[in-house]
Every structure is written in structure tokens, then in C-alpha cells.
């Protein structure tokens, strides 16, 4: 029985199948919202309301010619998409979606899983860097350098912002943090500043406008992905969508009280809360223009990092007042 449950957990929900379908849905949601905000229609043709468009795009890309550049590091170039996808899908397993029970810490929900998820979310950035670097294309190389430069900007504020709710909840376990804020919803308001900072940092981590600098189309063509095509590009795109789901799920767990209510209502909760987070991500994407990489770093260290520290101080003060 336990084996069957584990298999279902890994392959169907919330593992491969669910994450694949939900990522494509989220891509549709993001595209549609972005389009409507720009007074466009967005996908309409494939499936009802164009819902199947991302899946169609995925399979179409899978069928396209797959080119590996002559001078690229061929093994690394080909292995990176698979690694990246595996990392993001692993991170998804750690979210307290089905393993929300507090009394039985399982393999996928343990003390310190918050840190592991954050770590797993940092790795895709290095995957992008290596992907750009191993392509040996000029535009890819610049894109790769920009990926790393940006990482120095947003990573510290993101960690600070996500860790401060954990400090208040006195736990490093995602399920426990979520349960803490479910019991005391008023305390979630304390983390409002942190939520905003984390939203901006996640936007930067996902490399979306105004932080789509590593693959700024008008400047460096495809950036890190210039040389990628066919299956590998399809997997990278899926990986970025899945990363958006996981990052939104992480923010929803830490700031919005997680996904209570068993498998069914938990799923509903998950969908509503992640879409809520992604709504803000799309809003930022539609209302800003791309900034320069040096502006990202100075913005992150001038505003985000000090504000994240202020958030941490607030949390410590509140914690002192409570005890």
C-alpha cells in the first residue's frame, strides 16, 4: 500500500503528471492574463479558451529539429535540461501538498525542508548559467554572465524574506510554518513586507520582466537559450513553468497559510493560492519595462536587502512581544 501511495505521489499527484499539467495551465493563465492586460486576446485557438495551447507548443517543440552546436560541450549541453527539470520536480515534492500531516514527518516533509526547497530553487539558476556557458555562443555567454550577476542581487533578499516567517513560526518545516499561520491568521499580516520582497525576488529568479535580462530578446537574442532548440528547449520551457508553480507554491505555503483540507480541498487551496501569487507576478510583468543588469544589483542591495532586514527585525520584535 505504502509503495502504491509513494508511486502515486511521485508519478501522478503532486509529482510528474500533475505538475506537468498544472505548469501548462499556469503558463496559459499567465499568457492570457498578460495578454488581457495589454488589450490582446492571448491564446484562443487550441482547446477551449486556448487552454491546450501550452501543451500544443510543448509537443510541437518536442517534434522540432534538435541542434547541438559544433563547439558546445555536448554532454553537458544535452544533460542540463534533464537535470534542471529533475531539480524543479524534486522541489515540488517537498511542498506540503499531500504530506501536510504534522504528526508524521515523512521523507518529503521534515524539519529543514524549507532550506532544501530554497536550495533546489537556486540550482536552476546555475543550470541556466551552465547552459549559456556550455553553448559557447557569444550571446549565450553574455546571458550566462547576466544570470550570475543577477543571482548576487536577489538571492539574499529572497532568503531573508522567506526565512523571517519561519523565524516567527519557530520552525524550519514548511508544513509547520503553514499550520502556524493558519492558527493565527493575524500574524500573517506581520510578513506583508516580506511577501512583497519575496514576490519581486521570485520574479527575478524566474527571469520575467523587469528582470528578463539574461534572455533579453532585443539585446542578446535568446540569451542563455540562443543555441537551444527542439526537445531541449521544450524541456527548459517546461522547467521554467514548473519553477513558477513551485516558487508560487513556496510563497503560498510560507506567507498564505499553506494548503489545508486533505487531498481534494488541499488541491483546490493550492490552485487558488498559487494563482493568486502568479496573478501578482503577471501584473508586475505587464506593468514594467526591462531594467539593466547593474540596476538590478543596485536595486536589490539598496532597497530589497535593507527592507528584508527590516522585515526580520519586525519579526523578531513581534516574537519578543508574543512570548
Amino acid at each position: 500500500m505504502a509503495t502504491v501511495k509513494t508511486l502515486i505521489y511521485l508519478v501522478i499527484y503532486p509529482g510528474l503528471l500533475f505538475l506537468f499539467l498544472y505548469s501548462t495551465f499556469v503558463e496559459w493563465y499567465d499568457r492570457k492574463l498578460y495578454a488581457r492586460l495589454q488589450n490582446r486576446m492571448g491564446p484562443t485557438h487550441t482547446g477551449r479558451f486556448g487552454l491546450l495551447q501550452p501543451i500544443a507548443d510543448f509537443f510541437k517543440l518536442m517534434a522540432k529539429e534538435d541542434i547541438v552546436p559544433e563547439r558546445a560541450d555536448k554532454k553537458m549541453f544535452s544533460a542540463l535540461p534533464a537535470f534542471g527539470l529533475a531539480i524543479v520536480f524534486t522541489a515540488m515534492l517537498l511542498l506540503p501538498l499531500w504530506n501536510y500531516s504534522l504528526d508524521k514527518p515523512s521523507v518529503t516533509s521534515f524539519s529543514g525542508d524549507l532550506i532544501v526547497v530554497l536550495y533546489l530553487l537556486s540550482l536552476p539558476t546555475f543550470i541556466f548559467f551552465l547552459a549559456g556557458w556550455s553553448s559557447t555562443n557569444l550571446f549565450s555567454t553574455i546571458g550566462a554572465a547576466r544570470v550570475l550577476t543577477m543571482l548576487f542581487g536577489y538571492e539574499v533578499p529572497l532568503f531573508l524574506a522567506v526565512l523571517s516567517p519561519a523565524v516567527l513560526a519557530n520552525s524550519w518545516r514548511l508544513a509547520e510554518i503553514a499550520a502556524f499561520y493558519r492558527q493565527r491568521p493575524a500574524l500573517a499580516l506581520v510578513n506583508l513586507l516580506g511577501f512583497v520582497i519575496a514576490l519581486i525576488c521570485v520574479q527575478a529568479k524566474l527571469e520575467r520582466t523587469p528582470f528578463d535580462i539574461p534572455h533579453a530578446e532585443t539585446e542578446i537574442v535568446g540569451g542563455t537559450f540562443t543555441e537551444y532548440s527542439g526537445k531541449k528547449l521544450a524541456i527548459f520551457r517546461l522547467m521554467m513553468d514548473a519553477e513558477m508553480v513551485v516558487a508560487a507554491g513556496l510563497l503560498a505555503t510560507v506567507f498564505l497559510g499553506g494548503f489545508p483540507g486533505g487531498p481534494l480541498f488541499g488541491l483546490l487551496n493550492f490552485i487558488v493560492k498559487t494563482l493568486f501569487v502568479i496573478f501578482f507576478l503577471s501584473l508586475i510583468r505587464a506593468t514594467t519595462s526591462r531594467i539593466r543588469v547593474d540596476q538590478v544589483v543596485s536595486f536589490a542591495w539598496k532597497y530589497l536587502a535593507p527592507l528584508a532586514i527590516v522585515q526580520l527585525l519586525i519579526v523578531i520584535l513581534v516574537k519578543g512581544l508574543l512570548s
Binding site: Q38, E65, F139, T287, S289, R292
Partner: protein, 400 residues
Amino acid sequence: MKFQIPIGPQHPALKEPISLRMTVEGEVIRDADIRLGYNHRGLEKLAEQKTWIQNIYLTERICGICSHSHTTCYVQGVEKLMELEPPKRGLYIRTLVAELERIHSHLLWLGVAGHEAGFDSFFMYTWRDREIVMDILEIITGNRVHYGINTIGGVRRDLDEQQVKRILDSLDILRQRSEYYKHLGTNEPSFVARLAGVGYLSREDAIALCAVGPTLRASGVAMDVRKDDPYAVYDEVPFEVCTADTCDVLGRTVVRIKELFQCYNIIEFLLKNLPAGPVAVRAPRRAKPNEVVSRYEAPRGENIHYIKSNGTDKPERLKVRAPTLGNYAATIQMLKNGFIADVPLIFAAIDPCICCAERAVSLVDARTGQEKIISLNSLKSLSLKLSAGNKRKREAEWPL
């Protein structure tokens, strides 16, 4: 570490082929080089084989955005050669279309600037509202891009009361929308952060390098052919020359938005003071031997046509200097010491129309860097010679 980045001849930031070679250190550009000649027009030679009337439609096709600019510039020159005096009403309608074209060109440019800066929402909105101008142009001339309204001695179509009313109604919407873009373009923090201080061109450099149009006016030089050397009816129309003193891309944006408002005022004036009478006079088929230089303030800057006649019904020589060519030298100056990220913005800020400025193709040897110009026939035989022994490539296979 210094290395060269090629932007173009094929690059997503460029809609037309041109090559910008940047020598960069990290993200900073140390040197820039512009290479032209990826586009063969053969237009000036063609003009010598067509009659005066046919050439109106040829010059219209020099550019898709400022099609009316080129025909007006040409037609004005020919009218001078033929010693024609077009009627007032014709000139008013010609000026009206010119100002409408300026609006559509500037709205288009705002969208492009938004897109180059990664602000796609701005792009979508400006281009949506550009449709209003395109519709007006269609009402007046029957076409959206190549209006075909100019003819030697006046214009080809008249305006009626209903059209005037519809244009005035549409102007109100455009004014409102432009107010919004003015606010957005100068207040949205991430957009302004990208534009301010980028592509600096000092007043002295702008004059020394012969910059034209909004690029020049954004450096604080109030120079506009409409004011300095009035053609058509610009000496009767009240308007201001818009300038900015920031000398950067933000200034060029501001100048263009300000010009939009001037255009609305000019159009309103033209429509309200439209004189009665015919719209065109009959033109002779031949022009006496003479030569003329015609100047015109296109949306992108000063447009110059040199026309020489030899007494027949065809020009002996037509030389076109599109405004983009005048701005290339200044572009190199603007690019130096900028960031790679700013290249598309700086280059787009001159509103380049590359095919307007191109004349002939030059071949560059990739190894030695030697340039030469050869005829089409020898190019054909060269390519046949080079590919003669090649095996035929396998057809691409369907991967599934």
C-alpha cells in the same frame, strides 16, 4: 576582456539588415562601428527611366512609414522645376496628411521604444491607438500605408464636411491617449530608469555630426525645416518647435510626445481654416532643364531630394538623402561608453529606416576585410561557380 559583439545584420532588435559591431569590455561598449550595404534598392537609377508622374509612386515606396514625406519632397521639387503654383486647398490637404503621418510615425516609434526596453504593454497600447490615425488616413486617402494622395500640382482627393467632422472627433481620443502616454513615458520608474542618461549626445556633437530631426532637437537645438525654410502652408500655421535639453533617449521620447500635441493643434487649425477652391492644377508633361533641391521635415528628420531635369518627361537624376543617413554618425557617438543593454534603445531612438538610407550592396571579404562592389551578373556567376561541386544536401527528415 575585450571582445566584439555583432548586432546584426540579422538580430531581433533590428527589423531591417544593418550591422553594428560593438567592441565591449564586460557590459560596457568601448567602440562601435556601423556597416551598411545589406540592402540593394536601385531606386535612383529606376527613377531615371520613369516619367515625372510615375516617379511619385516610386518615391512613395522608398519608405513605408514616411511614404508621404518622400512624395511631398519630390513633388515640391518637381513643382518648382515646372514653375507650378498648387492651389491653397491642395496644399492644406497635403499638409494635413503630412501631420497625420507624423502622428502615426511617432506613435509607432513610442511602441518600438517600449518594445526595445522590454515594456511590451506600452508597445501594445500605442499601436492600438495608432490604428485611429491609420483609419483617419484611410478615410482621407483610401489607403493605410501608401496614401497616393500627392500629384504634381496639388493632391488627388478632396475632403468633405463629414470627413472633417470625423477627423476632429478622432483627434479628441488621440489627445486623451497621448496625455496618458506622456504621463507613462515620463513617470513609470522602470521605463525612465532605462531611458534617462542613455545615449548622451551633447549640443555641440549634435551640430558637428549633422544630426537631424528629433535626435537633434532633443539635444537642445531648435531646428526644424518647417520653421526654418517653410514649405507648403507651414508659414501660415502656428506651431512650436519642440526641444528637450536632456540630450538622451528620454529627451528624444519627450520631443516626440510634445510633437504629437503640436500635430494635433496643426491638424485642428488646418481643418478649421480649410480654404475653398480646387485641390490641384494641371501639370505639364515636361520640365525645362534645371536642377532643384527640395527639403522636407519628415517625422524622422530632414529629408532632402535633389532633382535634375533635362527637358524631357523623365528626370535626369534623382538623389534622395533620407533622414536616417544623417543620424548614423551621431549614433556612433551615442553608443560609445554605453551598455550593451542600451544598444537597441539608442539605435531605435534615431528611428532608423535602414532601407531608406541604403543604395548599393558591397561585398566584404570575411578574412581580409576588403570591400568591393560587383554587378549582379558577376555575383550570380560567382555563386554558381562556388556551389558547382557541392553535393545536394539531404532533405530534412520528419523527426517522429
